[in-house]
Subunit: 318 residues, 6 copies
């Protein structure tokens, strides 16, 4: 399986692939010669490739489903500006193949359960009982999905358990910078980090592989910032949280995208909210830069990255 | 009292004023010759004027308070680009003067109670029990302040009971246009109109004269759109409102300013939300145009009006 | 003819079509296997579909023309993100088919002549002889094309007689809202509505089916707002219209797009111009929302709609 | 008269002035000690200064008028960030003073009549009879005001006969650049230059001193670009100008501000329109730069100049 | 060779081509029927066309290289909205064909050497020894590449020796306008024109045909404006140029794009910098207009031109 | 000296001041009663106040200078929306007063020398000899001014030695975050932080009190970003720094303002440049928040802060 060495993302026109892949989506279409073919979006941990099964039969068209594993053999070629895989052979796996769906999904570098516990550790550091109680309450009620939810459909941290990975990394950064900017209130900052994206769980539909199928109706009509404010409002009412605590945490969430055009009708008005925004940006941008440069040679540029404002970024040759 | 004929807003440099005014604010300052004077913001139903009591005594400085009525005599002169009143005589009213504070406040053309009942009439037209119940619940719980709250600190409908006046005018327009755009759902549109600005009651502090002193802390950190969504969330939980009704009403509120820069993170995604936005704009703009042109002669332009995007508007001589 | 039941817009991949269609455009191209094929843009009242006749013969390539009716049989399949029709059989209609080209064109719900008379009714309500005369003069001189012109090439009211439908609906709304905002001058508002888009007749070339082929040279170099101002200037000179009437009507037209970026160098400076803008927006937006949601199920979203600022809009499940 | 050497614009705090000035405007106001004073906007050819006559008498207040000449003695002092003249003595001139109002007005460096003839020379170079006729017709009908009108109220070429100076300088530049970009049509370019700002004569009210008092009603409701298009429409109808000539000239005018936000709904679509825009910019900007740097020493910066996008510009010390 | 008469850019669907072309790029791809084909970007002096060699053999795939000349026979057809050439026969040229690569490249209308001498002539007119020395130094050190470098990858003056053509045309315009705006310093203006784009030589990689392959790493990380400032800094240090000269020339370069969004962090603060910007714009725009309209008939519009802000421009029928 | 307890910034209308202050600027002006007075901008470590000496004598007007210490007695009053000090007595200090100018200047919390050594410590951690050498070279050559320069004229860190304070705080944050984002190159990040604002030393003129009088000519024509790139270019040439090192460091500087509108023509293209930008933002914003909230009570808002995009920020009452 020559693709194993470097993974899908390293395949170049002319090379061959032979191995197991995750089917992210599958769709039958009609070619310009009037015959049917099947588009498979195949992936492994390194990335995705579009696979084409030309002149498909009705059996082919019924035989495959998304979020399953297939064994594929084929050759890579070029179509416009992207590479695709011309599939020569494809079949579903059997028990004998001994492969596991989770091995084919890009995931956070730590286990969900482990990161969840890290997050609990930060909750336990919160001194205000009022803040601690509401954060713990929400974290607990969302635990199941937190263990596998990504942080996005296609941007930064769009990987299994990416949301928890994003949050726990930000918590670690926050703890360090609190040593420097010691006038900040750790309670507010930790709580804001844990809650800022929590309603992405309700904004997007994702399966246990951490793959987002679509935004929810509520996600489209309100968005995760508003959804989180609602979540806190109900939790606060249930727990008897003080008005000021609720207000400050809701402001943290409301302002964390900073710009009205990005969904924040108010800019940060407390320093912890300002810091939350920058920690969020740093973690998202560092993730995207690292990702973009992961298979770039020194002295070369990456492809353009949409979530980096369409920049093609550079790896210095130092 | 020669100012009575046309009111404060008609006073020109050189004319004299002699009559009763509302003191909106009062402040002692020091002039460039080092002596104290008092700035009175005086108003009657026609508008405001800045009054100056030069070389004030300590008695003067302690003797006057905001939101009271004074008797004033003075002469109007010009300071930079605005007119002001040089106060010659000023005293607080006594019972014998027989004047009433409410006569000095610009108010909606209908009584609060009367407009409240018009609004109840529209609530009773809502067919969905779920929608009717939550709208009625909120309307009732806010009744007391609705009777006198303005719709703004200084923009459109910044008059006593201006908020109810704005809402009931929009309801009347909506009812008419529903006859033309009959695919719209009246329930959603009526509910949206009644609720869209309801949390201005919590965003601003206003007294019973309908004069706003300031924005509230919550108003500054969240804003009335987010506050209304919270209000609905709690009311919906208390009443067991269906998720879809709650979502649609919250979306109506969230999107009614249309532009992210004006506080709406989502644009209208249902036609009733689109219509709500335009009815809101029409009512605000018609109010401001009418107001701006009220004392302009045919063939002339008004002053620049901030809430009309700083336009100086025109009265045709037709 | 199974397509008849729901019309073209309801066809899904795998279904078959067999019936009569309007050919909106026809073009011979070369496929990636080097062979010729013909692209037909087919339509019925429900919408459009791209039809492909593969491996076309020279006879095919000469045999068909735009704005004619054809009988077609074929199967629907998917190409990228859109559906298209693989044509199996196609022929021009004959007299025996008994079909009429106008039945294949999306049209306003009322006859052109009927709407024209409604418009005349509003002109007769104008009290100012000066205004009435110039509006009537222009309406009369444009009558022939008004009966079938659409209001746009591809946006709102891009249907046969769409322009008159747009204008008469706005007139009806205006009449109702004049009852609420009674300080507005009905003469100016009615005249402004009737004239605001009148030069779309000269900005675009459309045939009697109400289909726009292109913008005119003058349309591209000046645009319908400037063209209408010129039209009024000449009509005013011919009729001896008063300078103020002419100026006010030209300002109504000039400012009705509101934003400089959308073609209005001046913002509305009279209240009737402000109202005209909002009535125009409401009618355009309501048309687009209704259209977008016409075949959407409750709880679902439409496709993205360009003229709704690319929103995918929602039909509540209430 | 020590101010004569350098003129008003060179006066610094502490220096004295004694001489004749033009009164641009005069206004009685009330000071913060409650006494009246008079604000005179005084000017000579070098610039303006605000003069203050403290503790004015009723005779003073009735004795002076705008656009007249006064003899003034006083001392220059500083008020906030600007200088002003404390008037010690002021009187109206008499015949014996032997001064002439035009000597006090900043004017173009050439006589109006002379520049008008230069412009006629360019008109005579136009080969197309159609274009020549309409340009000559309009130039002739506007001759009287062209001889003294400025090009602006306060921006570039806000001097007596500034409009003709602007146009004739642009014509000279155009003639030179036509030698380099020889695919341009001189007829269109000359006509466009002569007509582009012609309706500033109707957009602004100016007196024979070339001082603008205000914008006209038509100027505010339509603006000089639209006014010029109307002017051409009527002239074209009267002269039987060809449709294409009229269209091209109207497009030249419509697009010459280039940006929608600056009043041009269409960008230049013919090369002569593109060139017109740049020649206009160059002449305006060179005027403003020259003006701003006229009394700046090498190595220093000017004041901020509004019409140079608020830049403070620099005179190199080379 | 029927294409010779009008050149590639005049080929229309259905016409045949038979002749010599430059291969700008060549790439093997896989069609939707799974077979390989070769994309040739072919060009002659009139423009480019995409050539397709269907069902290519491995010999074909190895047999052709960029920047070489081939003999091609084929037929033009339409693919989406563009034309392409279906190649029937293609071979590399031999010595016997007697064709020269430079005849196939769009070039400036003058020889590089000739334009370089024109530029030297302007340098010799510079009176300041300090300015003349540094300009001459840089011009000399860059001479070799100046003789063939284009001014852009795909915008204005993207032709062989286009950079020198751009500079020398601007110098000629500058000389003329200095006669009108005679307060400008010719030394600074000539130097600024010569240096403003000089580091495009280092921003882009171009071969001797004047074809740009890509931007350099330094070009992407800094851009030609910053690179030129560095170039001057080193040259100034080597030559002992005065600080003020260096500063003024660096400011000329820094500000010549005028807008921050186009790469100029400072706007022009000296009049020569303002003039440089406009001369640059005029020359770029006139080039693009002339180019866009070169094969457009009177009364027609060009294709949309990206570097003209996507305008489709018009050729009047006068 | 009752002002000592809380400092100038705590003075409220009506309170008295009696003590020593730094004169930041002094200027004689003329009041509206025609008499002279002197404006003193007085400051201590807590902030500034405008002091007015009414009816000043010529002796007063010659007797005081900026950047000196005076003894002042007076009373605080209100003028428009700000407070000012009416000076009753003022004199220059004598040796006997025993006060030191540096005690009156807001300074960084650490000594310049101490922070400089911290910075040297980070330079010593740089592993690349090439990078270390150029950073050390520049740091050394700038040492004298670094010890007292502020980071701005009026924004964040506009205090004595503010620039070094800003840089060393960022270095400390960087060191911590490098532990989390360990794919970043510490050499590049440390070097970028040390150099990013280094040319503020040449962009602004500041005295040893850390008070900026103005921007330099070079600062206005080029700006500190471009100045730093030049500085590096010369240092790199002198030291023989590798091209790639120089390029990467110059890109760090060029992109650190992130937005073109804020002076960065290129966005960060390497992750260290992205991180530099966010560390810079965090440190500036935390400084401004801390400063703005320093004398705000819990539950209150600060004044609007220009460098916080005009926000009035909030201190929670938790």
């Amino acid at each position: 399986m020559n693709h194993d060495v470097k993974g899908l993302s390293a395949l170049e026109p002319g090379s061959r692939a032979d191995g197991f892949f995750l089917v992210k989506s599958v769709e039958t279409k009609t070619a310009s010669n009037g015959k049917n073919y099947i588009d498979f979006l195949l992936s492994d941990k390194s990335g995705d490739i579009m696979g084409k099964l030309w002149e498909s039969t009705p059996d082919d068209e019924k035989g495959f489903a998304g979020n399953s594993i297939v064994k594929v053999r084929g050759v890579v070629n070029k179509w416009k500006d992207s590479v695709q895989l011309k599939i020569e052979k494809i079949r579903n796996i059997t028990g004998e193949d001994g492969v596991n769906v989770e091995d084919f999904v890009r995931s956070a570098p730590y286990e969900g359960e482990q990161m969840y516990n890290v997050m609990l550790g930060y909750i336990s550091k919160i001194k205000s009982e009022d803040i601690k109680r509401i954060v713990a309450h929400i974290a607990e009620s969302k635990k199941e999905r937190l263990l596998y939810y990504p942080a996005a459909k296609s941007n930064h941290h769009a990987i299994r358990a990416g949301l928890l990975y994003h949050v726990t990394t930000m918590l670690a950064s926050a703890e360090l910078l609190l040593g420097i900017y010691d006038f900040l209130d750790p309670d507010i900052l930790y709580a804001g980090i844990i809650l800022h994206d929590i309603s992405k769980l309700d904004e997007m539909d994702a399966n246990e592989l951490g793959i987002v199928s679509d935004y929810t109706v509520e996600g489209k009509l309100l968005g995760h910032i508003i959804q989180a404010i609602k979540e806190l409002e109900l939790a606060g009412a249930a727990l008897g949280t003080s008005k000021e605590v609720l207000l400050v945490l809701q402001h943290m969430i409301l302002s964390h995208h900073y710009e009205a055009d990005f969904g924040s009708p108010k800019k940060p008005l407390i320093p912890e909210a300002e810091m939350l925004h920058h920690l969020d940006m740093i973690d998202a941008r560092m993730y995207d830069f690292k990702n973009a440069l992961s298979d770039v040679s020194a002295g070369d540029f990456s492809q353009r990255v949409w979530s980096l404002e369409n920049r093609a970024v550079y790896k210095p040759s130092l």
